[in-house]
Symmetry: C2
Subunit: 468 residues, 2 copies
């Protein structure tokens, strides 16, 4: 037990999106890539089975509700390169994948800004029932102006105000999930003819600044009630929201030093909210290109690189950073003095040392392999070593693995890397029983703990209908 990484179990999610290419723009052109089959259930059921075979904790599905139109001020580059457009709804993939798996979790990104809490709560409860408690929700408040315009607004609501609205939204959905139906409300008593006891079903009344609800939750209690809560906020306000609500946090970052600081900050914020800092599981985005040998892996990476679409990557980068990268020549070195924002973007993606030497093209090509660093390339032992180093240095709990070529990236990982991680005792050979929350937290932890903000809504405040 002298080396903690020898026993800490690595957590793994696969990272995908209901579109072609996801974080590897242009790789849909690769002859073995199947990501243009995102419209086919077969793609998703094969992926789910593969991930369960590899004992992945979950499949994490990204989403946005708009297109990337910052590059050149229009969506042409995104459309031409299929860079996250077209993009279908992620929630609807889950039932088909749940039907062919028993343990795999599903973390789905849903933007709370555009759906009433009353109907959203029912959608998630429905999925928690159908998956037998394997659903997670990545809480997102939206960041693309193009999404807001689709929904009748001139632009995205301001960042801090979005989090204020999100706090109220969470209160409403907690009331619906936790406070409407008591655990023993539904009895299905065939002899007595009682399906549920009306005095154990409570009306949720909420009169807030942004939301009003006066209703029963439509769904009976599901295995987890509140879904496993993911969050990915990077700003101080976002991190504080995560520290208060999230059970899993998804972060990105290029360097161990920067990531270690992020993780420490998150855990310190959680402690300030009265939580055990280790209670938050931190997943770091990563790309893995494994080979049976180091040489095979490097050759595979070189071949993958030849398919990256520079323009597609710049369309994504422009959307993420808000900087129109079409205004720079591809061979221009990125200089700090020119633009603080682009400097930060490069530092985020490529690391501080790259800033003075990288060109715009370098930035695009690095981003196009699964979204940027960290990138783990090598034979199984080399990748396992690098995973352990990364975890030791950063205190993350695991990785959110994006693909370069799908499903090849996931199949390679399951066939090559998983056995090595299992051999080292740092990755599970079998799933724990129970819900997704129990698999991550242990037996008896199907529901959120009593100190979580959701728990405050369990009974007080719920009002008997008949008493009105």
């Amino acid at each position: 037990m002298t080396n903690p990484s020898m026993t800490k179990q690595i957590r793994l999610n696969a990272f995908d999106m209901n579109c072609a290419g996801h974080l590897s723009p242009g790789l849909w052109r690769h002859p073995r890539d199947r990501s243009t089959s995102y419209k086919d259930l077969d793609y998703w059921t094969f992926l789910a089975r593969t991930l369960e075979r590899g004992r992945f904790d979950g499949l994490f599905l990204a989403d946005v509700l708009g297109v990337y139109d910052v590059f050149a001020g229009n969506p042409d580059a995104a459309i031409r390169n299929g860079a996250q457009v077209p993009l279908n709804d992620p929630l609807l993939l889950v039932p088909a994948m749940a039907a062919v798996t028993e343990h795999l979790g599903f973390g789905v990104t849903c933007t709370l800004s555009y759906e009433p809490p009353y109907t959203f709560a029912r959608r998630i409860s429905t999925l928690d029932h159908l998956t037998k408690g394997r659903i997670g929700w990545n809480i997102v408040t939206g960041y693309l102006d193009s999404a807001a315009k689709g929904l009748g607004q001139a632009r995205q609501t301001g960042h801090d105000r979005r989090y204020d609205i999100a706090e109220e939204y969470m209160a409403v959905v907690y009331k619906l999930w936790e406070g409407s139906w008591e655990d023993d409300a539904v009895v299905i008593d065939r002899e007595a003819g009682i399906f549920a006891h009306p005095d154990k079903v409570h009306r949720v009344r909420h009169e807030g600044e942004h939301y009003r609800v006066d209703a029963l939750h439509l769904s009976e209690p599901s295995p987890q009630r509140t879904p496993l809560l993911y969050q990915a906020g990077a700003s101080p306000k976002g991190r504080d929201f995560a520290a208060r609500h999230a059970e899993c946090v998804f972060i990105g970052g290029h360097s161990k030093t920067a990531m270690a600081a992020t993780v420490a900050d998150l855990r310190a914020r959680a402690a300030r909210h009265g939580r055990d800092p280790s209670e938050i599981l931190v997943f770091c985005r990563a790309t893995v290109v494994p080979g049976r040998s180091e040489a095979e892996a490097q050759a595979k990476l070189a071949e993958y690189r030849s398919y990256v679409s520079e323009e597609g990557a710049l369309a994504l980068l422009s959307g993420w950073t808000g900087i129109d990268l079409s205004r720079y020549g591809p061979d221009e070195p990125i200089r700090h003095e020119r633009n603080d924002a682009i400097h930060s973007a490069v530092e985020e993606i490529a690391g501080p040392n790259a800033v003075r030497t990288w060109t715009v093209r370098d930035l695009a090509l690095a981003t196009g392999i699964g979204g940027g660093l960290p990138l783990f390339v090598g034979d199984p032992a080399g990748i396992a070593d690098a995973f352990q180093d990364w975890i030791d240095a950063t205190d993350v709990d695991g990785f959110n693995l994006s693909y370069v070529v799908t499903p090849e990236s996931f199949v390679d990982f399951v066939d090559l890397v998983v056995p090595e991680l299992q051999r080292r005792g740092i990755y599970k050979r079998d799933y724990e029983p129970g819900t997704l929350r129990e698999k991550l937290r242990g037996p008896g932890q199907a529901r959120l703990p009593g100190h979580h903000p959701a728990a405050a809504h369990r009974r007080p405040g719920a009002t008997r209908w008949a008493a009105e």
Copy 2:
């Protein structure tokens, strides 16, 4: 060809809801009923396979967004009897059922009042992709005050105004489904590195009284683009909406005479909108209790009847009619002079002759067997005869079959009645190829015809992004 019913093909949907009991309150107590398993994917995949084995055109899923709280002014009776509460989201059942079937269609009820057209259009396009063009949408504007209260309103919007809003909503979703992506926009050209041609993807701009959108549709063209459109409006305004938009109409009614008048009125209204009157397929709600013999069927019905929950049926009836039936004694005869609305309700459910002799209990018990008349009980030949009579007399195209005990009602129908209908040549032995619309309309009819209001949004009005 002298008897048209000998060759007219009967259309069949199964009618279910993501809850226990659906239109047979209390029947969840029946020892063979599995409707309390509505939370399990297995229930739904078994049902879908059974229906496809029986060559059903579709599974039609009802939905409401509130509880039945008119009876005694509270939801207690509905909760105690499990009368359509708890109730989960229907859309999320479709992907799992689509994965285990190839031909079965899915008609899903979605209330347009509570979801922005931009995100709703993507959900439906996603399902049309995942099902390979087998999705239908039952357009509903909502009728329960309890639903409106869950969504922050004091009460339901007025009936006529709901249809005005619905007209605008349809215009927006048609623009998104039909007018944003040209058919040849997506090319997935691996050599040229072109996923889609930006100049063939159009921005949808809508500035109306109720909705504003300024966006690309997020989904690429799906097999049907606009889903198969169902509607069930019974009021003059509702029928006119159906006559303009709907491809399939779902109606209820107890008597052949009344139903024939409804069907004739619908077809006449369709003609006034410039449509072929036969273009609208009319499905009539019906319950079938088949046996190998008439005696076996009658015995089965008597046994089913003993499980009907009178209180549960009155909770549903009170919600549908808006009349609090708790104010009447169960043995009170229903008299016209007392209440015109309840008189109409009885006439609707039990027929004009029942009005003077039926008690409130009679009304409840009749309603509790699949929702009321028509009820077809008998051996396969008797049921086939009755189907043909009903179709000849009313000009309906088929039936929306509700269950009494599920999946038994559907399994019985498939095993006993379907072979008899096939033997008579009035029911298909195999599905037509293609999308749901093609299966109902014929080859080449995957998309709506050119005279449908959706077609007007196909290109004109779409604006090039770059031209802005």
